[in-house]
């Protein structure tokens, strides 16, 4: 078999590699949901698990929390993205925000949630800064601002994480939507800047960000790690409740958990369908609105408001992370002191041994997953180029499957699969489970750059007698070094963030900074949480910094070498 043949199988193999666990996982969840799980004595199909599920006293409240936080977070992130870009298109602020969004995107959810929790708690940093001199609160007020009964803290946390993702995806989509031309024409017809953007750019851009929006919706409705830190505990949102059922030592609860996981999936599917319905409705009304021809004003108010909101969110995220870094070098920091009263590096020293081990595990799994994902994606893209194929929208949907299907809806089923083929609790299972989520993101951040590479470079090299493989290694890869490294950094960051996959595929034997940070969040020692949140945020940021710095360094050494030669 020649190498070229191998390459031809790569896209299929890649899809198989990461759709099998999802499919097996879904089957392994759906069967028990209807009573079939022979090892637990369930031999016949029954609706009993569903009856038990709907009998559960806290279910309604769990559903309410899930729906409120998930839908609200998506609507807020999406509207803010759209109105901010509409109001600030092409401005200097857009560039600045873009620069800030990449690091925010890299910060894992758990670290962000821990920072936010301390920031907004009644005894948190914001209150400490103004107490008691301004507020008169010698004791913190008894108000639930974290783990509040409406899950608004969780909603805020989700917005802080999803806004950067949507903004960056939309900015990328704008580059392919001929936005400048559209705006120029609309403006020449007298439309205000915001109106012009909303009426001519948004319809074209939305088509390209539809999948990312669905991914945000799916994620927000089924988030576990952030919910464990920010959402109420009794009862918790549905995804957390499902996790609890799966972990219940009473085995009958596994059937209920499976039914709950199916319900979680239906919830996401329903929410996406609802959103799609909304899209159609908005498109109908929007057409009338556009045809109405109102020109709109300069949009100064909108610009000021959205800019302020986005900046506020960025500032809060940064302050939360800063607070966590401060806690990691604190010995005493009591309410209402604005800053720690006693500093100490004891906590770092005491965690020393564990820290090395845990950071090592995080690094190895992250690097392995990122490397494999980049290799697979490059292979698929190269195959596509050589064969003159283009990926269809339908295939793109497949790629998005792990991002759209809630993790709790299939991870338990795939755990059974990994136990049966004997890889559970091994590096293979761990990296594979991370790969499911790393691969789509790596593909998303690399595909456009790869496809946009000017064909003439490789044609020239081919004409000079280089083999396709040589062209790939010597021409394309060096030219694409920056996006490739950037995609690797994205992949690494996504791997660091993974909570549930690490928990399940790792059989509890693999502890990463994320699992550690989340399990410590129940313990209340903010100093230790600070150490892990800080490291957890620092690793992806270092990866991004390296991805930016490395090509420059390599280019310099190459120039030096060529000069010498």
């Amino acid at each position: 078999m020649t190498r070229r043949d191998l390459l031809a199988y790569l896209p299929g193999a890649t899809l198989l590699l990461f759709l099998t666990p999802v499919a097996a996982g879904l089957i392994g969840t759906w069967l028990p949901a209807f009573g079939y799980f022979p090892t637990l004595g369930g031999h016949s199909f029954t609706l009993e698990p569903w009856v038990m599920l709907f009998d559960h006293p806290g279910l309604r409240e769990s559903l309410r929390l899930t729906l409120v936080s998930g839908l609200l977070a998506t609507v807020i992130s999406f509207s803010l993205t759209v109105f901010f870009l509409a109001a600030c298109h092409g401005g200097r602020i857009t560039l600045a925000i873009r620069g800030l969004m990449a690091p925010l995107l890299a910060v894992p959810h758990a670290a962000m949630a821990l920072g936010l929790a301390f920031l907004i708690a009644p005894s948190g940093w914001l209150v400490r800064l103004v107490s008691p001199w301004a507020t008169g609160w010698d004791l913190p007020p008894d108000v639930a601002t974290v783990q509040d009964p409406n899950a608004l803290a969780l909603t805020l946390g989700l917005v802080m994480k999803e806004l950067p993702f949507l903004l960056l995806m939309t900015l990328a989509a704008l580059e392919h939507s001929r936005a400048e031309e559209r705006l120029a024409i609309a403006r020449s017809l007298g439309y205000g800047p915001v109106m012009a953007w909303l009426k001519t750019v948004l319809p074209a851009v939305y088509r390209r960000i539809r999948l990312p929006v669905y991914a945000v919706l799916a994620y927000s409705l089924s988030v576990v790690d952030m919910a464990l830190i920010l959402a109420p505990l009794s009862p918790p949102p549905l995804a957390v409740q499902v996790l609890r059922w799966f972990n219940d030592p009473d085995l009958t609860m596994r059937f209920v958990a499976a039914a709950g996981a199916v319900l979680q999936l239906l919830l996401v599917v329903g929410a996406i369908a609802l959103w799609r319905l909304g899209e159609i409705l908005v498109a109908r009304l929007g057409r009338l609105w556009i045809a109405g021809g109102r020109r709109g004003g300069k949009g100064r108010v909108l610009r000021a408001a959205t800019t302020a909101l986005v900046q506020l969110l960025v500032a809060m995220a940064a302050a939360g992370l800063l607070a966590m870094a401060l806690w990691s070098v604190t010995r005493r920091w009591r309410y209402p002191d604005a800053l720690p009263s006693v500093f100490s590096t004891d906590i770092w020293a005491r965690q020393g041994h564990d820290l090395l081990w845990i950071t090592g595990t995080t690094l190895i799994s992250g690097l392995a997953a990122a490397f494999i994902a980049v290799a697979l994606v490059l292979g698929c893209l190269e195959n596509e180029k050589r064969r003159g194929l283009t990926i269809s929208t339908r295939a793109l949907w497949l790629l998005y499957v792990p991002l759209l299907v809630p993790q709790v809806a299939f991870l338990f089923g795939s755990q059974v699969l990994s136990i049966q083929i004997g890889i559970d609790g091994t590096w293979v299972a761990l990296v594979w489970s991370h790969l499911l989520f790393v691969l789509p993101y790596v593909f998303l951040s690399l595909a456009d750059h790869y496809r946009a590479l000017d064909e003439r470079y490789s044609r020239t090299a081919l004409c000079l007698g280089a083999s396709p493989n040589r062209v790939f290694w010597r021409v394309k890869l060096p030219m694409l070094l920056r996006p490739v490294l950037f995609a690797a950094a994205v992949g690494f960051a996504v791997s660091v963030t993974q909570y549930l996959p690490t928990l399940f595929a790792g059989a509890g034997r693999f502890v990463t900074l994320t699992t550690e940070a989340v399990s410590l969040s129940a313990g209340g020692d903010r100093r230790v949480m600070g150490v892990f949140a800080f490291l957890q945020a620092a690793l992806p940021l270092i990866a991004f910094a390296a991805a930016l710095a490395l090509p420059r360094r390599l280019a310099r050494t190459r120039i030096l070498r060529e000069q010498r030669a």
Binding site: D142, P149, G508, V511, A522, G523
Partner: protein
């Protein structure tokens, strides 16, 4: 919920019959001589699944890891759990998948309902405690809970590790008089709205608080020592508990709408000034937390006049452990005078020993005599009577009913 309870024994029976192979492993007593076990343990890696919510305990476990590495060449890895039930569930999942050897868990920190579940389902290795030399040092006479875990006989399937006793920590700078009983606690909460709460059940401290109320208010607490008979019995015995909680909750932190995740989380609330009282299982926790910079110097301890719940916590080995010998070595080391004295040191953890001082030699006894007392620790004679844990079936019922009533 009721359906769930009724199904459990049926399921356990079905499991036990369908998986005869597992049962055979689980029933075998450990009979090898100690030297042989220690020899086999050398070079093994032991995955110890233990609740990881308290940083001081985690640090102690890390110390244990260093010691067993030095003495026995056993590599100890602490798998930090949010809830011990996770580990029970994992062992069950492994057996469900037919994994009867090379399991992912070698040692579990366990007691009460989790032990009862594992014992009932034949998920435990052993009996093994007789094989451990240090087991002979345990104080069975004065600490009967080292052999009977929440009314369930241990039968050598778990090795005692420490003694816990419910107590309350308060900030003496803010609280002048502490309540001496459960009804007095209600009065205190009424007078100080928003300043008390308890960890959310099924966190073990939260559940223990429920059981404390149950025992103190039940018309006849003797029933609690036996398994639940039927629903009407539960309803009758537990009625005062729910009446008490209904009255208490409006006066709690956050109006009883939400509860802290764990004991340490509530300790943080005490330090932050959000509440005035927290719960603890370790009589010297207050001193230990002061020494570690986690509570103010003014933190103190109180107990209830009619006594508080006390129990023993243990370590057990799953039937499919991949490093059973290593786990035995760790379990034995945990019962050594050295490890027990280190654990009882309030600057380290402050968890009381399971050993009988009379069974130790003078040098070992001196380790305990030399321990610092701790400024916020009550003298043993002031700790009050120890109340026995109810049968695990009560806890299961009470936790489920609590969810039904308050988590909705």
């Amino acid at each position: 919920m009721r359906r769930r309870i009724a199904l459990l024994p049926l399921l356990a029976a079905a499991l036990a019959t369908s998986l005869g192979l597992a049962g055979k492993d689980a029933a075998a007593a450990e009979q090898r001589p100690w030297a042989e076990i220690a020899d086999a343990a050398n070079g093994q890696t032991v995955y110890w699944n233990a609740w990881g919510g308290d940083e001081r305990i985690n640090a102690y476990i890390a110390w244990v890891g260093e010691r067993v590495w030095d003495d026995y060449g056993v590599m100890l890895r602490h798998v930090k759990l949010a809830d011990t039930a996770d580990a029970v569930s994992r062992v069950l999942a492994e057996r469900a998948a037919g994994k009867t050897a090379d399991g992912s868990i070698d040692l579990i920190w366990i007691n009460g309902e989790n032990f009862a579940t594992m014992k009932d389902n034949a998920l435990l290795y052993g009996p093994f405690t007789e094989a451990l030399p240090n087991f002979q040092l345990v104080d069975f006479e004065d600490k009967p809970s080292t052999l009977v875990d929440f009314t369930v006989p241990t039968e050598g399937l778990e090795a005692p590790w420490g003694m816990a006793k419910l107590n309350f920590i308060y900030d003496s700078a803010r609280v002048a008089e502490t309540p001496g009983s459960i009804p007095a606690l209600l009065d205190w909460a009424r007078a100080n709205p928003g300043r008390f709460t308890y960890p959310t059940p099924p966190d073990f401290l939260g559940s223990t608080f429920l059981k404390q109320v149950l025992i103190e208010l039940a018309p006849d607490p003797a029933f609690l020592q036996q398994a639940v008979v039927d629903d009407s019995q539960v309803e009758q015995v537990a009625r005062p508990l729910w009446e008490f909680l209904d009255a208490l909750h409006p006066h709690l932190w956050r109006g009883g709408e939400t509860f802290p995740a764990s004991g340490p989380a509530q300790r943080q609330l005490l330090d932050d000034g959000e509440v005035d009282i927290t719960l603890s299982f370790y009589p010297s926790e207050a001193s230990s937390a002061i020494a570690n910079g986690l509570l103010p110097e003014t933190a103190r301890t109180f107990v209830l006049d009619r006594g508080t719940i006390g129990n023993t916590h243990f370590v057990a080995i799953p039937f499919n452990a991949s490093a059973a010998e290593g786990a035995l070595v760790v379990a034995n080391f945990l019962m050594s005078a050295e490890a027990q004295a280190e654990k009882q040191n309030p600057e380290v953890w402050g968890d009381d020993t399971v050993l009988a001082m009379a069974k130790l030699d003078p040098a070992e006894r001196k380790r305990f005599e030399d321990l610092p007392a701790g400024v916020a620790t009550l003298a043993p004679e002031d700790l009050g009577p120890t109340l026995l844990e109810p049968h695990p079936s009560w806890m299961v019922r009470i936790e489920a009913e609590w969810q039904r009533r308050y988590a909705r």
